[in-house]
């Protein structure tokens, strides 16, 4: 799985690639550890993310909760398969998803 963090002042962009599932979720969890300090806007770029499992969804929900206290979290370039996961679970209503 590809995880790329880019910080500019209080804006952090995390670009993900590949599959975010049970085996790769701990990598994202580790990457997030300490990285959100002072971040006001967090972008997740899903352009190269093919698949999101429950484990990944849980990390997103926990991160969303953290960010709602200190700023905002925005998801970008979400593919249809992942959007379907957000829709069917009902989390589309709480996550901020930007479309092109």
């Amino acid at each position: 799985m590809k995880i790329d963090l880019k910080r500019e002042n209080d804006v952090l962009t995390i670009s993900l690639g590949g599959r975010l599932d049970t085996s790769t979720a701990p990598e994202l969890d580790a990457a997030l550890n300490g990285a959100l300090e002072g971040v006001k806007t967090l972008y997740f770029d899903f352009k190269d993310l093919d698949y999101l499992s429950s484990a990944g969804l849980r990390i997103l929900l926990i991160t969303h909760k953290t960010m709602s206290k200190q700023g905002k979290m925005i998801l970008r370039n979400v593919n249809d398969l992942i959007m379907e996961t957000f829709d069917m679970t009902g989390f589309s209503s709480i996550l901020t998803i930007e479309e092109d």
Partner: protein, 359 residues
């Protein structure tokens, strides 16, 4: 300044440590009441009288006092509530916490003639009982009285602005300005009354809705945030949610149902009877659709609205709404998105595979 006043000031200086302890005890007791009784309070504040303020008081009204213990506001506390009935509720609790000097306690709300409007506040003169605090090194903490003012936020605004005018009593104020202040007091008294009535009426409304829902008279219940919450908390709806959760042993996370309430209103579903009819007609198909959607995934988490999602999609499909209807529905609950049409198409495919939507 006369010698008597000078002696009182010396007493004040010597008692200052006790006054600080007294203030601290009062703060803790008041805040404890607020948290233990879950009261909706604007503010709780307290202060020790400033030395120059005491000096001024002794110069103006020194004839009334022979010793420091004659003064009842060396420590003053104020509780500002949002509702008038909260003032009375707080006062009721206070009498169990502090010793009240009833002879000097004044309900200034009742001092006005029925056709007069002005300062409205409940002033209690209190002592700290030994059961709350006792230290033989500081007997003054229990002996000295303090003043506790209780008023609403609107009464507080009026009193603060009156104080800001710099006048100490009505007789000093120019006639026109006094009339303005009196009419404002009347206006705020009316507003306080309306706010209390509003709260009472809303609480009464929720009670009636609860009882109508429980009795099954759902057609008589307008669909709104209160009735929707009651309905979603009913056994049969929760059972559908739990059935869907069991498909993948999913954990249910609570999210807001407001987007669904807005969507239902747009769909002309205006009472709980209509919603219940949808439930009775389509709950099983909604479950079948959810099984088809989730069973091919490893998703083990869903939201508290997932059952509603599948129920209303099923209703739309059964009513012939098709992809367009589902797309519009997604727009209502998740907002206008380019992906709505594609997601609607995908949902219809799953509905066909599940047999919920016939070819």
């Amino acid at each position: 300044m006369d010698i008597k006043a000078q002696m009182i000031l010396e007493e004040f200086d010597a008692a200052y440590e006790s006054l600080k302890i007294q203030k601290d005890i009062i703060d803790k007791a008041l805040n404890k009441i607020v948290s233990e009784h879950d009261m909706f309070i604007n503010s709780v504040e307290s202060r020790i009288k400033k030395r120059d303020s005491l000096e001024g008081k002794l110069e103006r009204k020194g004839y009334k006092y022979t010793s420091l213990s004659d003064l009842t506001d060396l420590v003053g506390a104020r509780v500002v509530t949002f509702y008038t009935d909260e003032v009375d509720k707080f006062a009721g609790i206070i009498s169990d916490v502090f010793e009240i000097d009833w002879e000097n306690t004044v309900d200034k709300r009742k001092l006005h003639d029925v056709d007069r409007f002005g300062y409205m506040s409940l002033h209690y003169i209190c002592r700290i009982p030994k059961s709350l605090y006792y230290d033989e090194k500081h007997p003054l903490v229990n002996e000295l009285r303090f003043e506790l003012q209780m008023r609403t936020a609107l009464q507080h605004v009026w009193a603060s602005i009156y104080h800001d005018t710099g006048y100490k009593s009505d007789v000093e104020i120019p006639r026109e300005s006094l009339r303005t202040l009196s009419s404002l007091a009347g206006l705020l008294e009316l507003a306080d009354k309306q706010f209390s009535e509003l709260r009472f009426n809303l609480s009464e409304y929720r009670r009636v809705v609860k009882s109508l829902v429980e009795s099954g008279n759902l057609n008589d219940v307008e669909l709104n945030a209160d009735s929707f919450r009651e309905y979603l908390g009913m056994g049969h709806f929760l059972i559908l949610s739990e059935r869907i959760a069991k498909i993948n042993n999913m954990e249910i996370t609570t999210v807001s149902t407001t987007p669904y309430l807005i969507a239902l209103k747009k769909m002309n579903i205006t009472n709980l009877g209509q919603l219940d009819e949808i439930f009775k007609s389509y709950a099983d198909d909604a479950y079948t659709l959810a099984v088809k959607a989730f069973s091919d995934t490893d998703i083990d988490i869903m939201s508290s609205t997932t059952a509603l999602y599948y129920l209303l999609i099923t209703y739309i499909l059964k009513a012939g709404g098709g992809e367009v209807g589902v797309g519009l529905f997604l727009g209502l609950i998740y907002g206008e998105r380019k992906s709505n049409a594609r997601q609607a198409k995908r949902i219809c495919e799953i509905a066909r595979k599940s047999g919920v939507l016939k070819e």
